[in-house]
């Protein structure tokens, strides 16, 4: 069978289109369509200045500050730490000097880079996209090949619009069936990571497939692809379909007119061909997936909300037993207790994983007419200024504020807290973000990952909670 006729995966089609040349050792130089820059990029621009290199294709990049910005205002002076402020200011200066489009804090389009890429239509099927942030895998939800890179690679891409890559292997994860009420994209991806492990997809690009994925909204797909990196994957992708095209139609940077028709015809050729071969196949039944939460310090430590905290005494492998004991100690949990008996101090609804309009609608449907439990500080941090405006147009902000949530400005915020939005040592946070690592939300912080509905239900209950009871009962 000739190479042209051999069935190809979505990944292979994008890969071969972007290959500039191959090195003797098999690494390939890949053309980058779109380079997204956030406010961690200062060291990369410093590298370029030291080498007197300029931007190769500034029109193929855009930058927005998201990590080092306050979420209680749009004024950088509200950041306590001058070094933090300098990071956001550097991106403004560096992008302008390079001729790269900059979306600043005063622009309503500003937001988390992985939220505004799709929102503006910068993220499109068939593109190769990079960003100096591991959650760049998010953009694969629209059928792009998108992955995170390091600082040296950011400098490399700015200077050459290309990046060296070893061709990854492919893995297809098929989720078939119908999701139960109250189960979302976040629960699917946590169930996947629990199944394959935090290193389960190292060296692979994942394509998510199956009826449960096809039936998800674009927001749900973005959440799933976002956390591909937490399974170790280089990237996550979903075949573009009519939902994708409907989402992209009319976005500011989507093609228009005759260009749109040509793009659409091309995009329709991208889904994996029938019979295309993947290096690994994994499958899950959608109906088996319950609302998922993490209890430990790796995203793989996820379990259904109805579970109990693991008991090290029942673990035969001494290494694993020691790991579980250490995590229970750090997390302040008792073996055998019900997850839903774990009290929370903070709630964070936001991050590049779950800060889109559908996430906020889901959380608001749980919060509506209810009150955040006494002693719990609960935040909602929209993913972009436009998500914030949309939510306000729908009255979601009023629902949150009436329930006792803080309604804040867009940014990465408490996911990693480099802007000062931190969880104090020993405090426990129900979070819709992506990492429950030791100290992730601040030294000594304790993070449980979950969906927006579960986080909202936990805020109301004052402990980790099953949102399904609240979703089903009209408030």
């Amino acid at each position: 069978m000739s190479a042209k006729l051999r069935p190809k995966t979505l990944f292979e089609k994008i890969w071969s289109k972007h290959r500039i040349l191959e090195r003797e050792d098999g690494q390939e130089l890949m053309f980058v369509d779109t380079h997204m820059l956030q406010d961690g990029s200062a060291p990369a621009f410093e590298m370029l200045r030291q080498r007197k290199l300029t931007a190769h294709s500034p029109e193929r990049a855009f930058g927005t500050p998201d990590h080092y910005i306050p979420t209680n205002s749009r004024n950088l002076m509200d950041l306590a730490d001058p070094e933090s402020r300098a990071m956001a200011e550097s991106l403004d200066r560096d992008t302008k000097a390079a001729g790269i489009q900059f979306i600043g804090l005063q622009d309503q389009r500003q937001g988390i880079v992985h939220v505004i890429g799709p929102e503006q239509g910068w993220t499109r099927p068939g593109l190769l996209m990079v960003c100096g942030d591991s959650h760049t895998s998010t953009h694969g939800a629209l059928g792009a090949l998108a992955f995170g890179i390091g600082t040296s690679e950011v400098a490399h891409v700015v200077a050459t619009q290309a990046i060296w890559q070893r061709r990854p292997k492919t893995m297809r994860i098929t989720v078939d069936g119908t999701l139960a009420t109250g189960v979302s994209g976040k629960d699917i991806i946590l169930a996947i990571i629990a199944k394959i492990g935090a290193a389960g997809a190292v060296g692979h690009v994942i394509e998510y497939a199956g009826s449960a994925i096809r039936n998800l909204s674009i927001e749900g797909r973005l959440t799933i692809c976002n956390m591909s990196i937490e399974a170790g994957a280089r990237a996550g992708m979903i075949a573009p379909d009519e939902n994708t095209f409907a989402y992209l139609a009319g976005r500011p940077f989507s093609p228009k007119g005759e260009q749109w028709d040509r793009a659409l015809a091309y995009w329709r050729t991208l889904p994996s061909d029938p019979g295309a071969r993947f290096d690994r196949e994994v499958s899950l039944n959608a109906q088996d997936i319950e609302p998922m939460l993490t209890w430990g310090n790796s995203p793989e430590d996820a379990m259904p909300v109805t579970s109990r905290i693991p008991d090290p005494a029942t673990i035969a492998d001494p290494q694993r037993r020691a790991v579980v004991e250490r995590m229970l100690g750090y997390m302040g949990l008792t073996a055998g207790m019900a997850l839903t008996d774990v009290r929370v101090d903070r709630v964070f609804i936001g991050s590049c994983t779950n800060s889109r309009i559908e996430d906020l609608r889901s959380a608001a449907s749980v919060a509506k007419g209810r009150k955040v439990a006494a002693g719990v500080e609960a935040w909602v941090v929209p993913g972009s200024g436009l998500v914030k405006a949309q939510a306000e147009a729908e009255g979601l902000d009023k629902i949150f504020v009436a329930a006792g949530f803080q309604w804040r400005f867009a940014g990465c915020s408490m996911c990693l807290g480099v802007n000062g939005d931190l969880v104090a040592a020993g405090k426990r946070c129900a979070a819709t973000s992506n990492r429950n690592f030791v100290g992730r939300q601040g030294p000594g912080s304790r993070t449980h990952l979950m969906s927006p509905a579960t986080a909202a239900a936990s805020a109301i209950a004052g402990h980790l909670a099953d949102a399904r009871a609240l979703v089903n009962a009209a408030a």
């Binding site: 050792d25 060291p43 990071m87 890179i149 600082t151 290193a199 170790g232 100290g439």
Partner: protein, 200 residues
């Protein structure tokens, strides 16, 4: 980039899987300029208490390991955030090689660009090295990039794989970006053809 050829040094055994880059360097140090000594931030919250006093229970604070230049760890070392500062922290501390059954993809790539050699060895070999290091605290390991082998006390010599180009860059201190710039004409030719046919 400083060349890496061969190293014989104390190895630090980290008998943990999934050591994420948030552990290697907490996020609050990412805003520091590169001129700083990032070695001071390495495993900061594992090495030090909030008041900057040392946590004696953390292995890097134990006298046998202070001079470690090699790290041996379990699977998925450097997973999580793409922060290249994790490599800078290891490098500035003095670490020049990390041995593990697998690495976070981005960490692996970042290491090669900074003169830090990531070595993938089978999990049972890593377990054997970790056991040796537990029995002989402060034992030295030899990492020979030219020969692509690792020698640990009491174990047979272990060969490892590395992409020839990456090996060449590490051995000579050559920079990937300089190499790419020599292909600027090929990139330009590609862009012309690509932009002429964006939808095919």
């Amino acid at each position: 980039m400083q060349p890496f050829k061969k190293l014989e040094a104390v190895a630090l055994p980290l008998t943990r899987a999934n050591i994420d880059t948030d552990q290697i360097i907490p996020a609050r140090f990412l805003q520091k300029p590169r001129v700083n000594d990032f070695g001071a931030y390495l495993f900061r919250d594992l090495r030090f208490n909030k008041d900057d006093s040392k946590r004696p229970e953390f292995i890097l604070n134990q006298s046998e390991y202070v001079a470690a230049k090699i790290v041996v760890a379990q699977r998925n070392f450097g997973c999580g955030s793409s922060r290249e500062q994790a490599v800078w922290a290891l490098y500035d501390y003095g670490v020049r090689a990390v041995l593990a059954p697998s690495f976070g993809d981005i960490f692996y790539s970042n290491s090669l660009k900074n003169g830090l050699l990531p070595i993938v060895l089978p999990a049972d070999v890593i377990d054997a090295i970790l056991e040796t290091l537990a029995r002989q605290p402060g034992a030295k390991i030899v990492v020979d990039l030219e020969q692509q082998c690792v020698r640990a006390p009491g174990l047979a010599e272990q060969a490892f794989e590395i992409a020839p180009f990456s090996k060449h860059c590490l051995l000579t201190g050559m920079d990937e970006l300089d190499y790419t710039l020599t292909h600027a004409d090929k990139i330009a030719a590609f862009v012309r053809q690509y932009e002429a046919n964006p939808f095919s």
